[in-house]
Structures are given as structure tokens and as C-alpha cells.
Amino acid sequence: MAGSAGSFKLLFRAVKSFKPDFEKTVIIVIHRKKNFFSEIEKLFSENSRMYLREISDKDEIKANAIYIAPANYHTLIENEKQFSLDVSEAVWYSKPSIDVTFQSAADVFRENCTAILFSGANQDGAEGLLQLRKQGALTIAQHPGDAEMPEMPNAAIQLNAADYVLGTEEIFDLLRT
């Protein structure tokens, strides 16, 4: 799950909604500023019934866990069992970049994952979502009409990267099942 401006509340709501026996791995990439010591993970963690952690390099990817991409790094999927981090150039002025994580997930998880792209004010994530779709993953874009900032889901829709374009409530219905 990923987003930028206007997605924080939605991602927070999603984190709160997951039941402790969800048994999936959830990876969250949200655009964030470096040196912004608000500790998203602390807030998320206090409201999550699942294990939640901000990713460190070479962290193990476990089921039944939520992982948050750290600020000022790109998060890559090293293999099915391990993350790795990268400090290379920002993509779409963003580090973490959603494209980078999505492309890496497409490479490793292929059809065995679902990706949701929420609200945001630039086009990061669209190309990555397309890669995921090409590999057979289930890809979802938030309906631009529901998004606080429609540019990000719009970019994905224009690239034909989304299997489904869903309203906010439809997405949360899906997450419940």
C-alpha cells in the first residue's frame, strides 16, 4: 500500500483495521520528509493489532506483519525473505519512492501480491504499479474522485496500471475480506 499527500489518514485507518490474525505481510510506502521526527511508526504501532516495524536493512520479511518504509532511503525487496535499503537518487523527488518498491516487488513477488495506490500529488507509483500488473499482481488505484490529491491514482489509470479503480469504502471492504 502506498500514497503521498492525502493518503496518511487512509493508511492509518488501514493499519488500525487489520486484525491480529491477518497472516499477510503488509508493506507501506508513504512519502515523507527527512528530519521530520514525528515518528509515524510509533503512532502506527500504537494503533496496530499486528506486529509493526520501520524497516531496517536486511530485515526479515515475515507474515502477519506490517512494515513501514523509512524516510531518506528507498526500500527494495532483496528476495522473498529479506528487505534491503538503498540511498541512491530520489525518484520523482521522493525517497522513499513508491515506484522503486513496487518495481522491486514486481520482480520478486510477481503475481503473489496485491498493490493499492492511494492519493498523492505526483506520479510516483504509477510505473511501478504497471510493472506489478504486468507480472500478474492484483493492482488497485483509489478512485481519483475520492482522493484528496488525484494526480497519483490518475497517473496510474492513464498508464493502464490498475486492474481495479475503487472508491475508498470499496477498498476498505476489500481489506476486510
Partner: protein, 277 residues
């Protein structure tokens, strides 16, 4: 061409390329993070408009290409005072201890264009320790070392480092340590005095001095666990008794045997102190 073609590089092809580079250029990428290596390959292929076969051809037949390849594959993105709270921790928890030494030798491993070396120089200067300190900056990439030696950065970059500096808790502003000329800023000569930049390959080169502090931040992220452990051993042997090791804020000592040989000084900023034999 976009990154897609390189995303399609298979594990077999990747191994083939790594073996080829090792055989011809003596450079071992086998311990590199595969995900990151593939991304960097995609970048080179995109920049030079090469497919996989072209890339192999260039690596075998074009003598000058490998230097370029190495420059592009290694990540050289760095900032002055990246993770300002790390510098704050260093200032508060490590420098008081280091100040008791007669000489302070520091190794910045994987120093890229020198921003970390000069950040450390400023920190030592402000603590009144610069004159008895010496900082060695090493990198595998000769091109970035040339830039590091010059100590000249664009005004745009300096501006982007200003916020980091502010959060580090140091007095004044970052520009106090530079001479501005048009759109570039040159680090003050006195801060360059006690520094030396030279080529060192963490994967194949060995111990070259004994240090009171080694800083190797955001380098381990590009290596697999086995290679990380090998380099930890190099660092351990390069540190004086009770010397300090600083890793990046999202890196940690994971190997059990080394966790026993280092004491955690700051778990948040990943600052360690060598203990044991």
C-alpha cells in the same frame, strides 16, 4: 529504453555478469545486494542505451568502460550531516571520550564526495579537537575522491545541507565553514588540513592503519550478510582497543559473534565500541 529490460535480467545472467567482471577486472560483486545491483545495472543500461549483450561486450572489449561502469554502479549519494541526530550523539557521547586520546585518527569508509569527512571535521573543530585529529576518507571510486579532495560544493547542495546542520545542534550555520564564490562554496582550508583521501576497496583491501573511530554509513546496505561480516572483521582489526564504529541509522551489527565484541553506545544511531581482545 526504460528499466524494464534490466528488471528482466535473470539470476543466471546476473551471476554470469558477476563472474565475467571478476575474471576480467578482478572486482568482486558477488556479495552485493542483488536487488540494488540490478537497479544500478538497469540505470547503466538506460544511460548508455545498452542491452544485456551489449553490456557484456563493453565490459570485455572496451578498456575504459569499466571505470565508468564502476562509477555508475556504486551509489554516491551523500549529504553533509545526514541524520543530524547521529552527529548530535557523536558530539555528546563519543567526543568527550575521544578527547582523552593524544591523537584521534578517524576512517570514513565509503566517503564518496567527502561530505561526511568535512561534517566530521566541522564537528571536531567545534569541539576544539581538530588540531589533534586526522580523518582518512576512502572510497573505491577514484572519480568521487577527486571531488572530495577539492571540497567544493554547489550552493544548491549547501542549501540542502543547511537544515541538517541546524538539527545537529552545532552553533551558527553551515555557511560559516565555507567560502562562497558565485554559485559554489569551498570548505575552509583549515578544515581540509587534517584530511587525506585515498582509494581503498573494502572487499579486497586490508587493514592500513589503526583508528579511534571508523564511520561507515550506508555502505553495508549494498552488501549481503556474509560480506557485511567480513568487513566488520576488517573494521574490528582496524580499531584500537575501545575504538568506536558508526554504522548508518538503518544498519546494525547482526552477526552474533561480533555483537559480543562490540558494546552498543547508541542503539538508535548505531554507534558501537570495540570491546574484548
Amino acid at each position: 529504453m526504460n528499466g524494464i529490460e534490466a528488471e528482466g535480467i535473470t539470476v543466471v545472467q546476473l551471476d554470469e555478469l558477476i563472474n565475467l567482471i571478476k575474471k576480467i577486472h578482478g572486482f568482486d560483486f558477488s556479495g552485493y545486494s542483488k536487488a540494488s545491483f540490478k537497479r544500478r545495472l538497469a540505470r547503466v543500461m538506460q544511460l548508455k542505451k545498452l542491452n544485456f549483450v551489449d553490456l557484456k561486450y563493453m565490459l570485455v572489449n572496451e578498456p575504459d568502460f569499466f571505470q565508468y561502469f564502476l562509477e555508475e554502479i556504486t551509489v554516491n549519494v551523500t549529504e553533509m550531516f545526514r541524520d543530524p541526530l547521529f552527529y548530535k550523539a557523536l558530539n555528546q557521547q563519543v567526543l568527550p571520550y575521544l578527547s582523552t586520546f593524544q591523537h584521534i585518527k578517524i576512517w570514513s569508509a565509503g566517503c564518496s564526495t567527502g561530505e561526511e569527512v568535512y561534517s566530521l571535521a566541522i564537528l571536531l573543530q567545534e569541539a576544539g579537537l581538530r588540531k589533534k585529529s586526522f580523518i582518512y576518507g576512502t572510497d573505491v571510486n577514484t572519480e568521487v575522491l577527486r571531488e572530495a579532495k577539492r571540497g567544493i560544493y554547489s550552493l544548491r547542495k549547501i542549501k540542502s545541507y543547511a537544515e541538517n546542520y541546524q538539527y545537529s545542534g552545532l552553533p551558527g550555520t553551515i555557511t560559516d565553514h565555507f567560502t562562497m564564490l558565485y554559485d559554489a562554496a569551498t570548505i575552509h582550508a583549515e578544515l581540509r588540513q587534517n584530511t587525506l583521501f585515498s582509494v581503498h576497496n573494502l572487499i579486497s583491501d586490508s587493514v592500513f592503519n589503526e583508528f579511534q573511530l571508523i564511520s561507515c554509513r550506508n555502505v553495508f546496505i549494498y552488501f549481503d550478510s556474509e560480506l557485511q561480516e567480513k568487513i566488520l572483521d576488517l573494521f574490528y582489526r582496524s580499531l584500537c582497543p575501545l575504538g568506536f564504529l558508526c554504522l548508518g541509522s538503518k544498519e546494525a551489527i547482526r552477526s552474533d559473534s561480533f555483537r559480543k565484541r562490540f558494546k552498543v553506545i547508541s542503539s538508535k544511531e548505531n554507534i558501537y565500541q570495540k570491546i574484548g581482545a
